[in-house]
């Protein structure tokens, strides 16, 4: 079976530093994979490479067999990769539901003239949009906050809203950058269940960065460990737990 995402030996360098060096990754459709590593290992840089924020200086990235490493960010999203951010980036002044609606933009096709004359096409699409957006919010238990300004949400809900917004673009692959950061243990457990749920419900592939080892070990099927931009271990959570390189990287030798 051909991989959904094929990352082949990508590297990037800023000046003399190589935050990502010969990184490779193959994701099958429907997998839930964790990307872990000590602070500064280059995890977020890999996400930035996958989403077109940086262009790899070597290697290539293929999604569904199509090379995407030379596309711009918004084009990569249109190909089917959505992401969340480590430091939350919501549309602060907009309401919760508007945040999600923005992300539906590419799935709507009405034009400005349609809007100016309130054509049936516009009305039908906006109605569909509203229902879809509410459905998404329900999955994350945000439906009661739909008209709240997103900036006023508590932190945990802001994180959930970011995931909801990412799902709204209808991705094949979802990249979660520390989804549980700043959440309390109970919220983390809830989030773990939600992540599993959306993987099955939307039939998508998920790659996540996380520092909460309990979360990572319990939901990921495979793990990739990196240090200084290089892969040091790959395997199931159990294999990683007992891998000496990984223990050394985290605890020192």
């Amino acid at each position: 079976m051909e991989a959904l995402l094929e990352v082949s030996n990508i590297s990037v360098s800023f000046g003399g530093i190589k935050p990502v060096d010969q990184f490779e990754l193959h994701l099958q459709a429907g997998e839930l994979v964790g990307l872990i590593g000590p602070n500064g290992a280059g995890k977020t840089t890999i996400f930035n490479l996958l989403t077109g924020v940086y262009t790899p200086s070597e290697g290539y990235i293929k999604l569904d067999g199509k090379t995407i490493s030379n596309l711009k960010s918004y084009q990569i999203v249109q190909q089917g990769i959505a992401r969340t951010f480590q430091n939350i980036r919501l549309f602060k002044s907009m309401s919760v539901i508007e945040n999600v609606k923005v992300a539906f933009n590419n799935r709507l096709s009405y034009t400005l003239p349609d809007r100016l004359f309130n054509t049936p096409k516009y009305k039908a699409q906006e109605e569909w949009l509203h229902n879809e957006a509410m459905e998404l919010l329900k999955i994350f238990d945000l439906q009661d906050d739909a008209n709240e300004i997103s900036m006023n949400l508590p932190y945990g809900k802001q994180r959930k809203l970011e995931i909801a917004r990412a799902l709204a673009v209808n991705p094949k692959l979802l990249l979660l950058d520390e989804p549980a950061a700043g959440m309390n243990p109970q919220e983390t457990v809830e989030l773990m269940n939600t992540i599993k749920l959306i993987r099955d419900k939307f039939n998508i592939t998920i790659l996540l960065i996380e520092h909460d080892m309990q979360l990572v070990m319990s939901i990921c099927e495979r793990l990739v460990v990196i240090e200084y931009g290089k892969i040091i271990a790959k395997g199931t959570p159990d294999e990683i737990k007992h891998n000496e390189r990984v223990i050394a990287a985290y605890l020192g030798e």
């Binding site: 989403t51 959505a82 933009n105 809007r115 516009y122 990412a166």
Partner: protein, 314 residues
């Protein structure tokens, strides 16, 4: 949510027709004389300028200091068209206005493509520069009659025409803002990187907003030309852009209704305080400072109203 919602379209049409009839009645009764109705026309032109700039500065969140330049293009474009066409007013005036607006929009796109790569102060400076370039080009072209300006432009911008064009402009901008285009534009203001990461081409929407704003500034220019009947490039200088920007800032940056009110209040004040016109800039800066303090402390009309009603309740 429980509150009964008014249909915005019907409310708007009623408000527009109501105020139009009120104005017409006042004019016929002689309460509003020719001098005042002339002032009302220039206020309406400023309203169009302000709401179009509000799209770029308020909703898109980009500082643009060259709006008068687009107005100038529209004014000259429309004036030259109607002066050269020998057609009845109801044919040549719409053609002239559309031509002026389209010309301004095209220049807006041409300027926008390089300029919108920049943000914040840098974009402000480059649009300021482009605005001045437009003015200087107009100053040196044969067809615009250089610094002496154009005269003998037909006087087409009556109260009725200007009033309805203003109403249509507001309606169109309101609809644009409340559509997927508007959502994308506000998203760019809130967080450009996140907008990119939900698959929206920020560059496309920025250029689009810039072009729409330039188009309406061009229409306003066309009305201006056919109201004053003479055009000189120096009336579209940097200060003109600033005055429009002040209206948008006072209107609350990203509030269409507030922008309209601010345009009406400021332009009326200008006329009332004509005899103190040299102190106008002092008044402007004072108002701006008050505005900034209010903004920093989050004082808005809504919060003031909430405070007052709370007191009554207690």
């Amino acid at each position: 949510m429980e509150k009964k919602k008014f249909n915005p379209t019907i409310t708007f049409i009623v408000a527009v027709l109501g105020s139009y009839i009120a104005f017409i009645v006042c004019m016929q009764q002689g309460i509003i004389n020719n001098y005042i109705s002339g002032i009302i026309v220039s206020i309406l032109i400023n309203v169009i300028m302000a709401v179009s700039l509000a799209l770029v500065t308020g909703y898109l969140g980009e500082l643009a200091l060259g709006h008068a330049g687009f107005m100038a293009i529209g004014a000259y474009g429309a004036a030259i068209t109607t002066m050269h066409l020998e057609l009845p007013i109801y044919i040549e005036f719409p053609i002239g206005l559309m031509f002026g607006g389209m010309l301004a929009a095209i220049v807006g796109v041409i300027i926008g493509i390089p300029a919108l790569r920049l943000r914040g102060d840098y974009l402000g400076i480059i649009t300021l520069g482009f605005g001045e370039i437009i003015r200087i080009i107009l100053n040196n072209m044969k067809i615009t009659n250089g610094a002496r300006g154009l005269s003998g432009i037909p006087s087409y911008s009556t109260f009725t025409i200007t009033f309805f064009i203003t109403a249509i402009t507001i309606a169109i901008l309101y609809k644009i803002i409340n559509s997927r285009t508007g959502r994308a534009i506000v998203a760019i203001r809130d967080n450009e990187i996140a907008t990119d990461c939900v698959g929206i081409s920020t560059f496309y929407y920025k250029t689009l907003a810039f072009a729409i704003a330039a188009f309406f500034a061009g229409i306003a220019g066309g009305l201006y030309a056919h109201y004053h009947t003479v055009l000189v490039p120096s009336s579209f200088d940097f200060m003109q852009s600033i005055e429009i920007l002040i209206i948008v800032v006072l209107g609350g940056m990203g509030n269409l209704f507030g922008t309209i009110i601010a345009a009406i209040v400021l332009c009326t004040m200008n006329e009332v305080l004509r005899s103190f016109s040299e102190y106008r800039m002092i008044a402007y800066s004072l108002v701006l400072i008050i505005m900034m303090i209010c903004k920093a402390k989050n004082i808005t009309f809504t919060s003031l109203k909430a405070k007052l009603t709370n007191k009554k309740g207690a």
